[in-house]
Subunit: 241 residues, 2 copies
């Protein structure tokens, strides 16, 4: 069902679903190979052998295709956390840090997408598409926070959510640094003064996770004066923490 | 010196510098107003009243212009840290967290640029331009780490550098989340289920800085098995921590 002819013939709902799946599959393969930034709508269309106008019958924009992949990647990531933590002995911050670090380190496309989401993907789709995406990502962050709190019961759920959200943001930006463009990678190798600019993603995330988990409780009750200061464009919900 | 005629006449080194400064100034104004992602080479050229081919006599690419602005923003940021920490009483993590959070929160263009740097800016410039940029940013991170360590002398310099680098990465990605596209901002206001997706940049960075500073020492000596695992494309330097 991934040929141009099959695309032209499809009529029924299950055929449309197959087409959507084929488009998402092609986008995923290309993004894994070339990086999200380098994959255009025309590339995805060419991969399936159709014209890009045909793609736009199934997705609003290039960005919506990648936003759908990001939502799927969040759900896949949640399954990895369950696999790593459902049977974990309670109380071990080291296990939580390791499971989280590997859950990102093993998922290069998820990390790449995480950096592109607020920067690009959420900005060129309909409000309904971004709303659906946000409900997925927020739901998974809550699910992950509940898993953390079940293992580390001295944390509050809000603290566990802070840990999850911070590490996910970092995974996106650190992955970009850990995967430099070829010219930059060569520079790192040839110039010892620049070597420290490169990052080993999984060990770095593990170390940061350990630091965050060790610091959440001792830093409680600091910064009480924060509530009134909002730099967000949207009026802050005073009880959302 | 920002008119088309002035650009056409310039010959001497100081005139070239004036032109470069005018280009950087125009790029800075537009990026502050519209966001880095929305400013093209043609926009910058139009702002100064010249053709974009004239711009390319002074800078390699659009990305090099923004990389130069990022380097300048790092240096400006270092001055803000000195202003906040040079006279700080030793030992106060709360002061360090507050100075760092405000140093980012007060510099929206710096935060915006930080997210674009590994994702876009470092990927479309010459090796020499990216090398020059990296030496600036690494130098400022080291300078900031030394300031942190002078105030919090129980930290090692490597730990202080970890704090600085982590917070700078987060500032870039959190700024993007804290400054959503207009359609997304409306959605946050209209849909209570999405309100928690928004971020207040300065308070969030302050809180994360407090957590990191509280966790660095207690988490020492964890994760000893990390050294052998590298996901970076460049061979890790075993002593670079």
């Amino acid at each position: 069902m991934t040929t141009a002819e099959a695309f032209q013939r499809a009529r029924r709902p299950e055929q449309k679903q197959q087409r959507q799946a084929a488009i998402l599959g092609a986008a995923r393969e290309l993004a894994l190979r070339d990086g999200v930034r380098n994959v255009s709508l025309a590339d995805i269309a060419a991969r399936i052998g159709i014209h890009k106008s045909a793609l736009l019958r199934y997705f609003e924009t290039r960005e919506q295709i990648f936003l759908e992949l990001t939502a799927a990647a969040w759900r896949d990531w949640a399954r990895a956390l369950h696999a790593g933590l459902d049977a974990a002995a309670p109380g071990s911050a080291a296990v939580v840090a390791d499971v989280f670090a590997r859950s990102f380190g093993d998922r290069p496309l998820f990390c790449d997408l995480l950096a592109h989401t607020p920067l690009n993907l959420e900005r060129n789709v309909s409000p309904e598409a971004v709303r659906r995406y946000k409900l997925t990502s927020l739901g998974v962050v809550d699910e992950a926070a509940a898993l953390v709190q079940r293992t580390l019961s001295t944390l509050t759920l809000a603290e566990a959510r802070e840990f999850v959200a911070t590490l996910a943001s970092l995974a996106g930006s650190l992955w970009q640094i850990a995967n430099p463009a070829p010219a930059l990678a060569e520079l790192y190798v040839s110039d010892p003064a620049l070597a420290q600019a490169c990052v080993d993603l999984t060990p770095r995330l593990r170390r940061t996770a350990e630091i965050l988990l060790a610091g959440l409780i001792p830093s409680r009750n600091q910064g009480q004066g924060d509530q009134g200061q909002s730099s967000c464009r949207v009026q802050a919900d005073p009880v959302r923490r």
